[in-house]
Symmetry: C2
Subunit: 441 residues, 2 copies
């Protein structure tokens, strides 16, 4: 059975396809845009993540025998639509923000061009991947900023569904985390993995000392010992007695961390273990990390809060038809008109306007006439934000796999430097820069 992502799709995409094949609109050239109307949670910027994953899933977006059988047996669409789907592959063009790029309300994060039939069926998959991964990356970037130079590891797999955990590890890495506990993320995306022992390790043994001795025997004195199964002070004393002052690190997973970290540092130093590092892992989020900035903590491990987007587990990106050809072949900008969910029609190009290297605005050039935007990836004082991911059905592989993940991380860390200082605060506020719409000439 060939893996297929094609049924990770809302039924109505295929229902619309059926109706469009019947009335001839399936062949109409269309532009769909993936964007958000707002940043969730008063965040000052968003971080695009998931693009590399989406492109790999797009390669598997095929309706094979098993998918077609289900659609037929469940009477989802008619025979003509099944024949269309059997031959389906995306032949359109996708451009969008590089993975790791920042985004703001109205940023055209992904632009999908093709016939209605080609483009409409990608809605659910594109949103699933980008909404989840971007939500995680946005939260992770804030944590990474709060952690500063201290290493930060993602260890939240147990608090995310099995496959999302792998995706979350990737998104966190792109946004500045240095490692993950998730081995599948290590294999699939080349992310460094970390981890030594849980409380069960200590409880398995007749004493904490037995457990520590066995761990050091197996993993060496450079390992990190978990010291809070019983009493932290006694745990630290035992750890150094067993390992010596060359012990790599201790991990604390409970307690009031600023107080506990200070006490443990003092104890370690008093025992001569001045080089033994302190890792803390108890219910951290960006605020707790920031509150530990002045504490003698050497590394952070973050679980639940990063894999659940620290209160905002999904971005609010939507996938909207913004332009299409009419019956006469002319382009028409379109948009939903409802008061509370209005959006801006037209094809768009986007630029980050910089002054002295600092972002000033997200400038979105909107075209009604349409064609003139084809090659316009230049704007005075601006960095062009969109690149081509899929060119008439040909997927550019450079965003995928290990290399794409590493490139996305590097891109994120680079463009984050362009943010104005006010963007780095954790409190709720407006987007760090305004989105400015400009009509194409």
């Amino acid at each position: 059975m060939t893996p297929s992502s094609a049924l990770k799709t809302d039924r109505y995409e295929l229902t619309m396809l059926e109706a469009a094949l019947r009335d001839g609109t399936a062949a109409r050239p269309c532009v769909f845009e993936l964007f958000t109307r707002r940043l969730s949670g008063g965040r000052r910027f968003g971080v695009v993540a998931g693009t590399g994953r989406l492109l790999s899933l797009l390669r598997e977006f095929r309706f094979g025998e098993e998918e077609l059988r289900y659609l037929r047996d469940a009477d989802v669409v008619d025979a003509a639509t099944l024949r269309h789907l059997e031959a389906y592959r995306f032949r359109g063009t996708i451009r969008g923000y590089r993975e790791g790029e920042l985004y703001f309300p109205g940023s055209p994060v992904l632009t999908v061009e093709g016939t209605f039939a080609d483009a409409v069926v990608l809605e659910t998959l594109a949103l699933s991947v980008l909404n989840h991964d971007s939500a995680i990356a946005t939260a992770a970037s804030r944590m990474s900023i709060a952690a500063g130079e201290r290493p930060l590891a993602e260890m939240g797999s147990r608090r995310a569904a099995d496959d999302s955990a792998v995706a979350a590890a990737r998104a966190a890495f792109i946004a500045g985390f240095g490692a993950t506990s998730n081995l599948e993320a290590g294999r699939r995306w080349g992310i460094p993995t970390m981890g030594t022992a849980a409380h069960a390790w200590t409880l398995l043994h007749d004493s904490e000392e037995d457990a520590f001795r066995a761990q050091i025997e197996a993993l060496g004195t450079g390992t990190t010992l978990l010291v809070d199964t019983y009493d932290i002070r006694a745990g630290v004393e035992t750890a150094i007695r067993v390992a010596g002052t060359g012990l790599g690190g201790v991990r604390i997973d409970s307690g009031d961390l600023p107080i506990v970290a200070a006490a443990v540092r003092e104890q370690l130093d008093g025992l001569g273990a001045t080089g033994t590092r302190i890792t803390v892992t108890s219910d951290l989020d960006e605020y707790a990390i920031a509150a530990l900035a002045a504490s003698p903590v050497d590394a952070y491990g973050v679980g639940t809060s990063v894999v659940t987007g620290s209160g905002y587990p999904t971005a609010s990106m939507i996938y909207k038809l913004v332009a299409r050809q009419g019956a006469d072949g002319g382009w028409i900008s379109v948009a939903k008109a409802s008061a509370d969910k209005a959006s801006k029609g037209g094809r768009k190009a986007a630029f980050r306007i910089l002054a002295d290297g600092v972002a000033q605005s997200e400038t979105v050039v909107v075209s009604d006439g349409f064609e003139e935007l084809g090659g316009s990836q230049e704007h005075p004082g601006g960095r062009a934000l969109q690149v081509v991911f899929v060119d008439h059905g040909e997927i550019d592989a450079s965003s995928e796999g290990h290399a794409g993940t590493v490139a996305a991380r590097a891109h994120h860390l680079r463009v984050r430097e362009e943010l104005p200082v006010r963007a780095l605060a954790l409190s709720r506020s407006d987007p760090a820069i305004p989105t400015v719409y400009v009509d194409a000439e």
Copy 2:
């Protein structure tokens, strides 16, 4: 390449395994327990979901050539551990709450018995699946209670990562939803699917009327027309003019729903379309559904809030060693002692105590001596809550696939009837029934 779930595992499980193989503790018989210390968000009950999915993933929990190559190349564990993993299959016993069952703080939702080596490596996968799926099911059950007899559909795939969306659809179905928009969930779990058209369908056409005509042509007058792309009043008028008074339904995806629903009902009735149903889908959660109870709404579609657990995207279940054999072969109850994260050691059996069919308490019988609990699945006035899912490595298939999903839903709807009335309120409160620990004789 054979699918494997084995690397969906935190690195430290394998690091502990390596150390345990070296010091001989790997062979110690152990009891791990999956439970929660609290219900997230002041919820009055939790709903167990994911068990069927977990058991299917357990079948794939094998370290094949690709998994072993990664572990070797990334230097995760030593050669002896790789040899152990190559031969690994879970040979222990797993019992736990039926899928769809309610749970409370301390409920032994899953009990995994086996050697340390057998049981420790399942921690991450078991928690990933049960924490996610139970969080969704818990939120979904509240929505299902709020919706009463009105049909409720899950349509949040775009707001959850691609694979979690499929799992979320399943969890929502188990907790009382009647359908999903997600086709993969339809194929994989036999869940009914629904959906007709998005705003893009209307925008694709030169007029709303053209769009409605084409949809009816393709899907019949029984279809549901989305009437809020431009002006709802005009949309409803057009819908009935085009479809006639036999139109199946209209869908409203924006606006102040109580007001809009009442106006649309009045308009439909005035036009003679008294049988045309109104489906609302705009940013619903359990509170919004409850607020619409007196409105003329016929069906609900819920997106973001259900797939993100309505503010609580993960349950807080943990996987802890609670008992093990000592060097002398005697059983020892164990537990972490830290003040803020204490737990209760010992092997447990659980019963829902009922009076006149109404739940009174979650009674957890704890054994230090251990053996006497082996067959004790009876308690006066109580319904035994645990069943055997895996017996010495043999997985009972009845929880898996379509049949397992349907059975879980039926079980949930049945046991929900046992809840006291106060459990059905949506506001934050204490668990609906207390958890009572009883020592085994």
